[in-house]
Amino acid sequence: MLRTEEMLLNVGPQHPSTHGVFRLVLKIDGEIIKEAKPVIGYLHRGTEKLAENLQYTQIIPYTDRLDYLAAMTNNYVLCHAVETMMDLKIPDRAEYLRVIAMELGRVASHLVWWGTYLLDIGAVSPFLYAFREREMIINMLNELSGARLTFNYMRVGGVKWDAPEGWIEKVDEFIPYMREQLKGYHDLVTGNEIFMNRVKGVGRYTKEDAINYSLSGANLRCTGVKWDLRKDEPYSIYDRFDFDVPVQEGGDAWARYHVRLAELEESLKILEQAVEQFPKEGEILAKVPKIIKAPKGEAYVRIESPRGEIGCYIASDGKKEPYRLKFRRPSFYNLQILPKLLEGENIANLIAILGAIDIVLGEVDG
């Protein structure tokens, strides 16, 4: 008697497409996935426990390593949490530098996502084009902060380094260039039949699901929820910029693709305005004591990172180390919906779905 057996397949911690050390235990029947169980924790480094013995400025390099593709927003969330507790006013120039750095980081992160997503789908060239642009951004951020990936740039009260001579002009030149390239990306990939077939209707979920599963960022906006923390709960100086929040209705990977590329476009708009409004001179760090002590109490703040809503909770008892520090990491929450999306799907769609959620393992494990 012929019978089919369910196979247990391990999309193991080492895999070219899982964007890090991520393990997925699949029960498959032929090519259909019956059950998917994600196993995480391979990159858990105990950041929160370590932070209980570190001063706030010393924790900032740790935040870099959470979501290493968009380290500027991570830096900022910690500084913002402490500044909210201390009720600090940040000087203008510092705020503008922060916004420019964060938006450049957002563009870089979306480029990486685009390149690797297409690489997973099978197109080998867009990866290199994306990285060519990202290289320019990384070089600019290198000039600004001294590092290419883990910047350690923000401080409680401002930023650490001022923009060097001619840096703002470089950013200014980059923006129209990136726009051109973005047009090229759309020409190459967005209209491609094969790509559309791979991505349309794949990994669909509804608005209610998205809110129930605490999804954020592009994963939420692809279902039609117009929600962006930069616009709806403005922090820093985002209320001075005029930009749109792109929203799609589909709820599938195609919608997420469009939302992210549109977000890239909007970030360029913000960058343009920030560069225009950039103050010619000013302080880059507010008057803060050498050793930062947050007042007794607790606070939770959240900002918009390229992956979604990143938050930082600090419980402090007045000392120079936090009593409890917790990061709300978007990829961790976004990944929860994966088992639900994968049930009944093709293996080939597994990669397309996982890629569209855009996770970074450093963030998932923290």
């Binding site: 924790g41 858990h44 929600w227 606070a299 938050g311 917790k326 929860q336």
Partner: protein, 426 residues
């Protein structure tokens, strides 16, 4: 829209006030330096002088505002006129009060002698306290009347917050009215120039009486302007409150060290939300389900509810499913070890109302157990696993609680404060 106009007016007033305050500070500095050359001034007098200058400046600003308002009153609708009138009245009152105070302080200085000054202060303070008390009583009465009058015109969901707002508004109005009366009186009497401190008291008493009257007038006006929307009222109330607070602050400055003026903390803008949540919860779940509730001032004024462990799940369920509250998004969930107890913190958000709330629960440290929220918010699944893994808090009714981060064979819960890493070799 008239509502927006009010906002803009409010904004303008606030801006003017700030400018005035700055101006006043400058003037005060100049005044103090001048006076220092004259004779040695005590701290009190310096402060008084500052306050006086500040009051003067504020008065000037308020005068400007009043002029503007009178100009703008023409093209505005009847509703606006009412509110504008109210505002003008309040402004005038504040100005007057400030002017009176300033003059009093100047008088005190003129009459010289640090000895008299404190005495004068005491008296003034007592007088002011008396006036305030009178005003407060009057205001309460007026508020009650107001409420009764407006009972019909108000919308159905006028709840506690509305009443509270109205009461607060009335109080503020009364205070402002008191001030205004004082000012008006002072003006009528050609200023307190050349009069003694006793005149001050009298002036203040008269001012209090006048305030009562003015408040009554305002209340009537407000009642007649009952077609004004809640928003406008609220804004007017807020404006009045703000002015009252400013006035109170000025008064406080005028009484340094000796007697602290009863402080009026600027109520957080989210206080009404907190009140609403507490009220709704108590209505539906009974009194005494919340251990504590407050506004977390450090965390962008988020209303924080601390639930009792046995009621935690019911409250969470209520917050999730109640139509008015509808907190359908779980933004953050984690636990913390606070040595005497463990705490679980959930930050919820409602997309419909665009409001956040934080829900905390304190649990026993020896045997930490709470219900799981994963049935209410699917997004609580993994965070609870993480909390269990790193802190050891057991979640009842969780679909699949496992050690998500550290793996099955880890010994201990690292985020606890008494965690000792277990090394096989050591």
């Amino acid at each position: 829209m008239s509502g927006e106009k009010d906002l803009e007016q409010l904004k303008k007033e606030a801006a003017e006030k700030a400018k005035a305050a700055a101006l006043a500070k400058m003037k005060a500095k100049e005044a103090s330096t001048e006076a220092a050359t004259d004779k040695p001034m005590t701290d009190e007098e310096k402060a008084k002088a500052k306050a006086a200058a500040a009051a003067k400046a504020k008065a000037a600003a308020l005068a400007k505002m009043k002029e503007k308002e009178q100009v703008e009153e023409e093209p505005s609708s009847s509703d606006d006129t009412d509110i504008a009138k109210q505002k003008a009245a309040a402004a005038a009152k504040a100005k007057a009060a400030a002017a009176a105070k300033a003059k009093a302080a100047a008088l005190a200085k003129q009459q010289g002698g640090a000895e008299e000054a404190p005495a004068g202060d005491d008296e003034k303070a007592k007088a002011i306290a008396a006036a305030k008390a009178k005003a407060a009583a009057a205001a309460k009465a007026k508020a009650a009347a107001l409420v009764k009058q407006q009972g019909g015109a108000e919308e159905a969901p006028a709840g506690d917050d509305e009443k509270a707002k109205a009461i607060a508004a009335a109080k503020a109005k009364a205070a402002a009215a008191a001030k205004a009366k004082a000012a008006a009186l002072a003006k009528q009497q050609g200023g307190a120039e050349g009069t003694s401190a006793g005149d001050d008291e009298k002036a203040k008493a008269i001012a209090a009486a006048k305030a009562k009257a003015a408040a009554a007038a305002k209340a009537k006006a407000a009642a007649q302007g009952g077609t004004a929307g809640d928003d406008e009222k609220a804004k007017a109330i807020a404006a009045a409150k703000a002015k009252a607070a400013a006035a109170a602050a000025a008064r406080a400055k005028a009484k340094p060290a000796e007697e602290e003026a009863p402080e009026e903390l600027v109520p957080s803008p989210n206080q009404p939300y907190l009140d609403k949540y507490v009220k709704v919860i108590e209505e539906h779940l009974g009194k005494d389900v919340l251990e504590d509730f407050y506004i977390n001032n450090l965390s962008k004024d988020v209303p924080t509810l601390v639930a009792k462990p046995e009621n935690y799940y019911r409250i969470a369920e209520f917050l999730r499913y109640n139509e008015q509250l509808g907190f359908n998004y779980l933004s953050e969930f984690h636990g913390g070890d606070f040595e005497t107890h463990m705490e679980v913190y959930a930050h919820l958000y409602s997309y419909n109302n665009r409001q956040s709330v934080a829900l905390k629960v304190k649990i026993d440290r020896e045997k930490p157990e709470v219900e799981s929220l994963s049935k209410l918010w699917a997004g609580a699944n993994w965070p609870e696993c993480e909390t269990y893994d790193l802190l050891g808090i057991q979640f009842k009714n969780h679909p699949n609680l496992y050690r998500i981060m550290l793996g099955d064979d880890w010994i201990g819960h690292p985020l606890r404060k008494d965690y000792e890493p277990y090394d096989v070799e050591v």
